[in-house]
Each structure stands twice: as C-alpha cells, then as structure tokens.
C-alpha cells in the first residue's frame, strides 16, 4: 500500500467552479500536511501547509485535514485559468508526495 494515495485525474472544470482535491494516507505518524502546485516544466511550489485537523484558509484556497480518517483536501473557490496546474499533496516529516492531480480550469 502506498503511503499517500491521490487521484491523478485529469480534472477539468469551468472557470468559477469550486474545485475539491483529495488525498488519503496510511501512516498516522505524519505530522505536517501540505499542498504543492506544479506548473508545466517547473518544480513544485508550496501552496499551503497545516499541522492540525480542521480547516486553514488562504484567499481562495482552503486546506482541510481529518486525522481520524487520514484524509486531506484542498478546496479552490472561484477557480481561475491561472490555477491550471498539477496539485500534489505532501506529508512530513519525511516528505512523501501523492501522485498529483492535473487540474485544468476552462475559461
């Protein structure tokens, strides 16, 4: 079993839609939960991180962690074409990444 499972998509939605991206993990020892965004032919960049169960908001982005279910989510409100990228969940302390979900926002 992989330590982190993420639906690779691809996911295509119209501009303005709410996007939900999800990961599940198997090891309850993970303490930090992150979302990275990767544009084509670029390295991933940190989008958000959290270390507790619950929600964390940053502008149009909300990260949600449910440690009891070992489930993490990223919500994007009012999605924009510039949000089109691959989104990867990551867990620390040893940085383990999900497969990444390729997201396209259609104008």
């Amino acid at each position: 079993q992989k330590e982190v499972e993420q639906d690779p998509g691809p996911l295509s939605v119209p501009e303005g839609a709410i996007v939900s991206l999800n990961c599940t993990y198997s090891n309850s020892a993970f303490q930090y939960f992150m979302w990275y965004r990767q544009y084509s032919r670029k390295g991933p960049e940190l989008l958000m991180y959290t270390y507790s169960s619950g929600n964390k908001e940053d502008g149009r982005f909300t990260a949600q962690v449910d440690k009891s279910s070992k489930y993490i989510s990223l919500f994007i409100r009012d999605s924009q074409p510039s949000d089109s990228a691959t989104y990867l969940c990551a867990l620390a302390q040893k940085l383990v990444f999900g497969q990444g979900t390729r997201l396209t926002i259609n104008p």
């Binding site: 993420q6 690779p8 990867l88 620390a92 040893k94 940085l95 990444g100």
Partner: protein, 114 residues
C-alpha cells in the same frame, strides 16, 4: 544562492553511459531530497540527506543509483549504466530543518536515455 539550482537542465545520454546530476541547495538548508518524476507521474522519493546523519537511501530503485552530499551542501546523483526507463525529470529539494514543512525545489534535470 537565491534558490535551489540544478544542472544540467537537460541531458540526453546513450543507453549504458553514466550520468551525474548536480544540485546546489539554498545556503544554510540542512536537508536535501532527490525525487524522480516520470511523465504525468508524481514525485518518487529517491534519497534524503539531513545534516551529518547517514542518508536515507530507501527510495533508490537499484544499485545503479547513488548520491552523495559533500560538505553538507552540493549533492550529486549518479546513475550508472543508464537504461531507457531511467528517462525522467530528476528534482532536488532542500528544506531549512528537520521539520521539512517547506521544501524548495529546483527546476529539475530532464534526463533522456536513447
């Protein structure tokens, strides 16, 4: 430097040849990771260096792969006797400390084995 630097950015090599990929992390970052990303795939962990501790090599796919980190700074990933399945983007990341809450990535080295 301002960010993580990787070289070369692109490398085409013949099957069976050895290649060396270089990573120059952010100054002062104690942790360094190597990942491999195949087309349309996620990041496959290869190796992790933390300070002066023994590296975590658990992700290296075969004994053709090795890495070292000299002086706690620059790292080199070596692939011997390259195979076509080694073709991928090799990404290096560094973090400030053990907590690893924010990893900064280089642009990657795109390796093509022909």
């Amino acid at each position: 430097g301002a960010g993580v630097s990787q070289s070369p950015s692109n490398k085409v090599t013949e099957k069976g040849k050895d290649v060396e990929l270089r990573c120059d992390p952010i100054s002062g970052h104690t942790a360094l990771y190597w990942y491999r990303q195949s087309l349309g795939q996620g990041l496959e962990f290869l190796i992790y260096f933390q300070g002066n501790s023994a590296p975590d090599k658990s992700g290296l796919p075969s004994d053709r792969f090795s890495a070292e980190r000299t002086g706690g700074s620059v790292s080199t990933l070596t692939i011997q006797r390259t195979q076509q399945e080694d073709s991928a983007v090799y990404l290096c990341a560094s973090t400030r400390d053990r907590a690893n809450t924010e990893a900064f990535f280089g642009q990657g080295t795109r390796l093509t084995v022909v």
